[in-house]
Amino acid sequence: MSDIRFTKDHEWVLLDGDTATIGITDYAQEQLGDVVFVELPEVGKSIEQGDEAAVVESVKAASEVYAPISGEVVEVNEDLEAEPAKVNADAMGEGWFVKLKITDEDELEGLMDEDAYAKYVKELD
């Protein structure tokens, strides 16, 4: 099973060493509609688990994206400025938002794995 984890607010986090990549799930992008803009944090910013990490906007909605895990922002997906549609096309891959250098891997405990998230989403509809 992969190292990807999910929050109840439809964020995903993928851990690779001490770098965590964060994005929103396919379910989330479908709910939002066409993504028109993503407001990303500044590189170097420190974010606590549960803090607002980004804001994703569609034409008629704006949604905060919360950090599933604490860390320091080391990279943001600059492609999203010119091509916010990537979030719709490939939310789990090229539509990633932020990469964090994390401090505490244990924060991932309590987050859902892929199967648990799939079940959770099914119950929502």
């Binding site: 028109v36 803009f37 906007e57 569609s58 034409v59 008629k60 909605a61 704006a62």
Partner: protein, 448 residues
């Protein structure tokens, strides 16, 4: 009642379908304590003729600008509005249309907003403008809040020569938002230098051009000083006709330009409704308040227009909105854009030249009156005079002689002793030789 189409029969039929015996049943959720037994104590309905009669009496107690030699400015200006403008804004489809949230049946409104935004950006020399704010003063207040958002700082430096009403609006918003305002003393001679006031905690510097005393200045150096400290320069333009002749704030390095559009297309209206102009640099567009109209295509590939970047607004962002403003000045905005379309490049510039020439003539004539000093070397269509008498007394005495000669600056700044004997005098294209002669004659008598 002429505006209510339902008849007694209609009402009975409707109640029958609803299943209620009377309209009172529909109000059953109103608490007993709040149910009124009688009509509220106000006059009963009246026909058009009676209403007209009453309102004409009230209107008759006012001195209209067109009836006397008129030189009042200080933020609102008397200009001639072509007949076409008022005719067009009264077309049903403009007057009685709603906000263009259903773009397919609102392309009329949306296209003129797009044209308006373009015109405002052009006039101010900026990249982008919104679809208007309530007025110049609230646009100024919102600009300061926007500067705080952009710079993430909390202190605004406000020119002492900014229209006091504009300053008070900024101070009010700052007060309630817990922001700081550094307020300078006015400098009637127009020699204010704010450079030393700007620090690394300053979010913006706010100036006015022409300022409340009428001085016209170059703010390029101030813009550089602001930028060197990471602050924004906000320039307010209460007389939009001035940009037909003066270097626009955009060319001086302004980051945000706000203005009052009343001079074009809109009557004096005792202070409102007016139309606030708001323009900024492209990079700040997502932080702008107010409505924005954008170009796009429809399902058949035809060009069309829609309200856009709506996620800044309160109906979506709610407490995180860039502003709580829920409107623009619609019809006033339309009047502005029609007037400017009629003028065109040549007409607008010529109008500005006429204003400036008239003001120059008047300034020279008033300077020739014993006891009158004109404070301005450079001005557009408004300048300040100083006499030996309190400004308010002079203005009132002139009014008694049938001349509305300007605004006593003391009325706007009662705490500033320096301006006690000063009057802001405006002169536009409406003033004639006869108006100027009447002013000079009356002023001589008043000062004698």
């Amino acid at each position: 009642m002429r505006y209510l189409p339902l008849t007694t029969e209609d009402r009975s039929a409707m109640l029958a379908r609803i299943g209620a015996k009377s309209v009172d049943e529909l109000f059953r959720d109103v608490p007993e304590a709040a149910r009124l037994n009688d009509l509220i104590d106000l006059p009963r309905r009246q026909g058009e003729m009676e209403v007209e009669r009453q309102l004409k009496v009230m209107a008759g107690k006012n001195t209209a600008a067109s009836d006397v030699p008129f030189f009042v400015g200080a933020g609102a200006y008397k200009h001639h509005v072509p007949a076409t403008v008022d005719h067009l804004i009264q077309r049903s489809e403009f007057l009685t249309a709603y906000t263009p949230y259903q773009p397919e049946i609102a392309q009329g409104t949306l296209q003129y907003l797009f044209e308006f935004q373009t015109q405002v950006a052009m006039l101010t020399g900026m990249d982008v403008a919104n679809a208007s704010m309530y007025d110049g003063s609230t646009a100024c207040g919102e600009a300061v809040l926007m500067a705080h958002r952009v710079t993430k700082r909390r202190k605004a430096v406000i020119s002492g020569n900014l229209h006091p009403h504009y300053r008070e609006v900024v101070e009010n918003l700052s007060d309630f938002g817990s922001y700081d305002v550094v307020r300078e003393a006015p400098r009637p001679n127009g020699d204010e230098d704010l450079t030393s006031e700007i620090g690394k905690d300053t979010s913006c510097v706010v100036v006015q051009n022409p300022d409340v005393f009428g001085h016209v200045r170059d703010f390029s150096a101030l813009a550089e000083a602001a930028h060197a400290n990471g602050a924004l320069l906000i320039v307010a333009v209460p007389e939009i006709v001035s940009l037909g002749l003066i270097t626009p704030p955009g060319e001086m390095g302004a980051d945000i330009v706000v203005g009052e559009g009343q001079s074009l297309g809109n009557s004096l209206n005792f202070g409102g409704p007016y139309v606030g102009l708001f323009a900024a640099k492209q990079k700040y567009v997502r932080q702008m308040p107010g409505r924005l109209c954008g170009e796009t295509v429809d399902a058949e590939g035809k060009r069309g227009f829609v309200l856009t970047l709506s996620t800044r607004e309160q109906h979506i962002r709610r407490e995180k909105a860039t502003s709580n403003i829920c409107t623009n000045s619609g019809l006033c905005c339309l009047a502005f854009t029609i007037h400017l379309s009629l003028l065109g490049e040549e007409g607008y510039k010529r109008l500005a030249r006429i204003n400036h020439a008239n003001a120059g003539k008047l300034a020279d004539m008033l300077a020739g009156v014993p006891g009158v000093k004109v404070l301005n070397d450079a001005f557009f269509n408004e300048f300040t005079i100083e006499t030996a008498k309190p400004g308010r007394d002079v203005v009132n005495a002139l009014a008694d002689k049938g001349v509305l000669g300007g605004v006593a600056l003391n009325r706007l700044m009662p705490d500033e002793k320096a301006v006690a004997n000063m009057i802001a005098v405006a002169s536009t294209e409406v003033n004639t030789d006869s108006d100027r002669a009447a002013y000079v004659a009356a002023l001589k008598e008043v000062l004698a």
